[in-house]
């Protein structure tokens, strides 16, 4: 028997003994209240802890249980058991009804709906005098005489203690059951949950129902033990206290529900002589707990808990387990003339292709080309406006994401979406159970809990090459493992079509090679693989056919070798031949450094992106950094302005280190970033955007400079009083640059200015940049359009996987055919 069960049983035994030996009704009463509150906490913990929906209205369910039970026994003279059952059902029904509006909303809005519910119930109790007795309430509620119990207080208290113990055990079982995992999965990531076939709505409604039912049951026992109910016991305040009990004990922990209830009931009794101080102490205790143990009191015990023995998958990756491919069919996935628009922009514009079983179809294209949108259309997260997606006889374009998942279309996400609080194994378990969760009461009884890791899930993990502990929490995994586990999770749903969204992004060369082999092996088992990827080497190596997208449209489709030579593809990637005007200038003999970066290391959270990058920009120069997507170009610019913290290395700007300067003071120093995606302030008009560009300026020249900007960009003058969000992409880019110039930069940083712009706009944008350069502005430019960037640049750096691998004069690079290898 494990230690946890022993402690639990001991506490249970002590409580029973205390109830048996209690010298007077006061002690019995307190014990009974602890037990009742424990049941409420367990109920609320299912909703708030497991399913992540905070309720500040549980006194409402408590009241409904108490009044329904009391009325059935008093007025209808029902037997206790029947009254209890109907009261629980009434509360559950109310929970389901409330989940209607509650599931429409989230965050503070959800809190509001539950608060409103609680207060409405309380006021109705007061108002509906003929039924509830109004302020006076109901009295003379009989003690139960069931299961051979005498209708006396002591035996009722013993009864509710047993139930409270069972409810805590039941919570622990639920948490280990696929249902409990499903609650947590939906809380962690509803979109990923839908992608593995769960119904987030149904799961959340069930959380409401079970939570309300338990709280209602507790309400009946409350009425029975006190013998009297009145609206005073079911106030807004009571709801807050219930929530506080759960938080104090520890959200999502079984024992926490008991500990919270114990504190909530016992503390006021201890402070009996200081009644005025009760809530003061309680409030302070809560603040203290939140500060010292944000995860509740139970989390303090966790450090003594014996860690689960590590279980690792087999080291020799087997073939893809058979159960994964049992669903495969010999029918292709056909996409025909698929289109969708967002706000007038054609994100996907009549795209067609066919994916045959056992093949890999790669979708490539510049950022913003519509690749992920295409994937979202196939997996049902968006509905196409026209066109068809068929898988055999099934019309996927008419279905929602869950039905599509059930038909065997499985996917991964660009920003890996694991269920972060679940273990690796549980991520797979949720996915493999998917829609077949079964009846929730079974979960509360602990039926269908797997004790040992399922061998077939371990096989899938070893197949994808995951070698860590299967009990590790997903949020703690290294980056590569997150990707692998996400692929494994997609596989255990038994897909016929596997959609992978940039699986190689951020991986090292070695990891990419392993990944390429993995994808190949998945496809060769007969699955249809559709892959979005920026790493051209990987795409060219493993795909059977490549679909190239640009601005929503398919510009090329065929085998890799053919696509590679397509001039349209080259133009889309390198921007070659989009300008006829000569924008070059003679090399500049600049030597005064403005910016010197030395050995910069940085990244996001656990993911290191830049590994020891060094570069220099001199006075009056236009320097460009080129490199494939994911090489770290934008990361470099963000870390220069301290939007990302520097892990190590120096940034020296005009002889000053910027390491400790907060981001908002950087602009005033003269280092100004025009960010990727423009980031104009959509709700403000053009002139206000420009004013804010000069926010830090103390001089009187702002108005004059705005005038100058409107002069330079006549399109902006025409639209000066329009909200920036209504401008076209090209105008927004103009505005972003103008806004940057308003800050009087000594060095202007430009991040992907040509992104998502039509070719003729790109040309005029580059003409603008060239003229800025000729006016003497020092510029560091990062852009996907390498050919154009090299045309206006004086010097260039080539960035690969976080390091500068080549540096030189831009003119030497202009006709360098090696350069396209960076992209292909």
């Amino acid at each position: 028997m494990n230690r946890r069960l022993i402690v639990g049983l001991s506490v249970f035994a002590i409580t029973i003994a205390a109830a048996l030996g209690a010298p007077n009704t006061y002690y019995l009463f307190v014990l009974g209240m602890v037990a009742v509150t424990t049941i409420v906490s367990v109920g609320l913990n299912i909703l708030a802890g497991l399913s992540g929906q905070i309720s500040i209205g549980h006194a409402g369910f408590f009241a409904i249980g108490a009044y329904a039970g009391s009325l059935l026994m008093l007025r209808a003279e029902w037997h206790f058991g029947a009254a209890l059952a109907l009261a629980a059902l009434t509360a559950a029904g109310t929970g389901v009804a409330l989940s209607g509006p509650a599931l429409q909303v989230s965050g503070p809005y959800l809190a509001m709906v539950t608060i409103a519910f609680g207060i409405i119930v309380e006021r109705v109790l007061i108002e509906w005098v003929s039924l509830t007795g109004g302020f006076g309430g109901l009295s003379g509620i009989p003690k139960p005489a069931v299961l051979g119990l005498q209708p006396v207080l002591r035996e009722s208290v013993l009864f509710v203690i047993v139930l409270a113990f069972l409810s805590v055990v039941s919570f622990a079982l639920l948490k280990r059951h696929p249902w409990g995992k499903a609650f947590q999965a939906v809380r962690d990531d509803a979109i990923a949950a839908a992608a593995v076939g769960l119904n987030p709505l149904y799961v959340r409604v069930m959380a409401f129902a079970v939570s309300a039912a338990l709280t209602g049951i507790a309400g009946v026992f409350f009425a029975v033990i006190v013998g009297f109910v009145s609206p005073d016991s079911f106030t807004f305040h009571r709801s807050i206290l219930f929530l506080l009990a759960v938080i104090l004990g520890g959200l999502g922990t079984a024992e926490g529900a008991f500990i919270g209830a114990l504190i909530l009931i016992i503390l006021p009794e201890f402070l009996h002589d200081f009644a005025d101080y009760q809530l003061l102490v309680f409030g302070s205790l809560l603040l203290l707990t939140l500060r010292l143990a944000p995860d509740g009191i139970m989390s303090l015990f966790r450090r003594w808990a014996k860690p689960t023995a590590a279980v690792r998958p087999l080291s020799n990756p087997p073939d893809l387990p058979e159960f994964v491919t049992q669903n495969k069919q010999q029918m292709p996935l056909k996409v025909t003339d698929l289109s969708i628009q967002f706000g007038g922009i054609k994100a996907v514009d009549s795209v067609s292709f066919t994916a045959q079983p056992g093949t890999i179809t790669a979708v490539i294209g510049p950022n913003g080309a519509g690749k992920t949108t295409l994937l979202n259309l196939i997996s049902g997260f968006y509905r196409p406006q026209s066109g068809a997606i068929t898988l055999g006889a099934a019309q996927l374009n008419r279905m929602g994401s869950r039905r599509i998942a059930a038909l065997g279309v499985s996917r991964t996400f660009q920003a890996t979406r694991l269920f972060n609080t679940l273990s690796v194994l549980d991520n797979l378990r949720v996915a493999s159970v998917g829609q077949r969760l079964g009846f929730i009461l079974k979960a509360l009884l602990g039926m269908g809990i797997s004790r040992k890791p399922e061998p077939q899930l371990l096989e899938v993990l070893s197949f994808v090459g995951y070698q860590g502990d299967v009990h590790s929490t997903a949020s703690t995994l290294p980056f590569v493992d997150r990707r692998l586990v996400e692929i494994a999770r997609a596989l255990v749903t038994r897909p016929q079509v596997l959609l992978l969204d940039e699986p190689a992004a951020g991986l090292s060369q070695d990891d990419k090679k392993t990944l390429a082999q993995l994808i190949r092996r998945i496809a060769s088992s007969g699955l249809k693989v559709i892959l979005i990827e920026h790493d051209m080497e990987l795409v060219m190596e493993i795909s059977d056919q490549v679909l190239v997208m640009d601005s929503g449209a398919a510009i090329a489709y065929g085998p890799p070798a053919q696509v590679k030579e397509d001039p349209k593809v080259l133009a889309a990637y390198l921007g070659a031949g989009t300008t006829d005007v000569d924008l070059t200038r003679d090399a500049l003999a600049a030597t005064t450094p403005v910016l010197a970066v030395n050995n910069l290391v940085t990244g996001y959270d656990a993911l290191q992106v830049l590994s020891g990058l060094s570069l220099q920009v001199n006075q009056g120069e236009l320097v460009t950094v080129i490199g494939a997507n994911g090489a770290g170009k934008s990361t470099l610019l963000k870390s220069l302005v301290n939007l990302l913290p520097t892990w190590s290395g120096d940034i020296d700007f005009l002889g000053q280190s910027l390491a400790t300067t907060p981001a908002y003071e950087i602009a005033a120093k003269g280092l100004v970033l025009v960010p990727e995606g423009r980031q104009v302030l959509k709700e403000l008009d053009v002139v206000s955007n420009l004013q804010l560009g000069g926010f830090h300026r103390q001089d009187n020249g702002v108005a004059q400079d705005i005038e100058r900007m409107l002069e330079r960009f006549p399109r902006l003058r025409e639209r000066q009083h329009q909200k920036a969000g209504l401008l076209s992409g090209g105008e927004q880019q103009m505005l972003a640059i103008a806004r940057g110039l308003m800050a009087q930069p000594k060095l202007l940083l430009l991040d992907e200015p040509s992104l998502g712009l039509a070719p003729q706009l790109v040309t005029s944008l580059y003409a603008t940049l060239a003229s800025l350069r000729d006016e003497g502005m020092t510029i560091l430019l990062v852009d996907q359009m390498a050919t154009l960037a090299l045309e206006i640049a004086d010097r260039a750096y080539l960035l690969e996987t976080g390091k500068i691998v080549r540096a030189g004069a831009a003119q030497d690079w202009r006709n360098d055919s090696d350069l396209s290898k960076v992209y292909f």
Binding site: I54, G100, P101, Q104, V105, P108, Y109, A111, M112, V113, I115, A116, F117, I119, I120, R123, I126, E127, I191, F236, H237, I240, L243, L244, I247, D276, Y277, L279, L280, F282, G283, L286, L287, L290, R291, P294, T372, F381, Y382, V641, L643, A663, Y664, I666, A667, A668, V672, L673, P675, Q679, L681, E683, L684, Q691, L692, G693, F695, H696, R739, A743
Partner: protein, 289 residues
């Protein structure tokens, strides 16, 4: 009877609106709220009562002092009750501010006392007659103060550079930082402004609703409801929702009976939110995969 109900509904409603503006303001820049706003309303009323009535300071001095103290309280709340609990996307700030509200209420109960005290005010003694209906002058003053505060805030946000910086910070904090806007500082400022508004509401409502340690709780909840049905993205919407909510409540209480005030009011809240999950005047968020 109707004009009277509507007028007093507008008066109480613009109080909800004032407090709700505070919720809206802090949520806009920081995605956090001070759930002890109701307690701050009470603190404002109690402070002003002590200064003005107990210690005999003139109202001209008591009102600005109370406002300043409430604003300072906001800074403290942001720094010590919200910021440490709002890191890495945690929701603990919700509970820590609720806890603060409980503490504040009970501290006041211990020091100020449990009894309900009337706040004598020349504006709430003799009703004036308008269209043959008697209303207290204060009931006319309150909506005027409420709406002109909303108007002043609107002008502040749309006409001044700092107001625009504030809008920038709420729309896109990273970009605002790039432009040189001290976002962290603005967040502190928004809390301070929000508690000042709550304090103002407390002072305005004291002569009508009396002063007690528990006067703020329900008002805070209703102000929160107002912020929700107004939609958190629009100050005008919040103020308008406050007035509407006040009128609905007042009419329900006047025609159906006292405790229908909350029943009808909160049913309206649930219905509005289930039909418009982001409030009546709120912007919907785009689902992004």
């Amino acid at each position: 009877m109707w004009p009277q109900l509507i007028l007093s509904g507008m008066a109480i409603g613009s109080m909800y609106g004032l407090v709700a503006l505070g919720f809206q303001m802090t949520y806009a820049v920081s995605n956090t709220m001070n759930f002890s706003q109701g307690a701050v309303v009470m603190v404002g009323a109690v402070l002003c009562y002590c200064l003005n009535i107990t210690w005999g300071l003139s109202a001209i001095a008591a009102v600005p002092i109370t406002l300043i103290l409430c604003a300072a309280l906001g800074l403290l709340i942001e720094r010590w009750i919200v910021r440490p609990f709002a890191r890495n996307g945690s929701q603990s700030w919700l509970l820590s501010t609720i806890a603060l509200g409980i503490i504040a209420e009970n501290l006041v109960m211990l020091t100020f006392g449990k009894e309900v005290r009337g706040y004598p005010s020349p504006l709430a003694e003799t009703p004036v007659s308008i269209l043959n209906f008697g209303v207290y002058p204060l009931e006319l003053v309150i909506p005027v103060v409420g709406l002109s505060t909303a108007l002043a805030l609107r002008l502040l946000f749309t006409r001044t550079l700092w107001g625009k910086a504030f809008q920038a910070a709420s729309e896109n904090p990273d970009t605002a930082r790039l432009l040189g806007v001290p976002v962290t500082w603005l967040i502190a400022l928004s809390f301070s402004l929000s508690t000042a508004l709550a304090g103002l509401a407390g002072m305005l409502i004291a002569p009508i609703a009396n002063v007690s340690a528990t006067m703020g709780t329900l008002l805070g909840v209703k102000a929160f409801a107002t912020a929700m049905i107004g939609g958190l993205s629009n100050p005008w919407g919040v103020m308008l929702a406050g007035v509407l909510y006040g009128v609905v409540e007042s009419v329900a209480a006047g025609t159906l009976g006292g405790s229908y005030r909350e029943i009808v009011g909160f049913i309206v809240v649930i219905v509005v939110l289930s039909v418009r999950p982001n409030g009546l005047f709120g912007r919907s968020q785009v689902k992004k995969v």
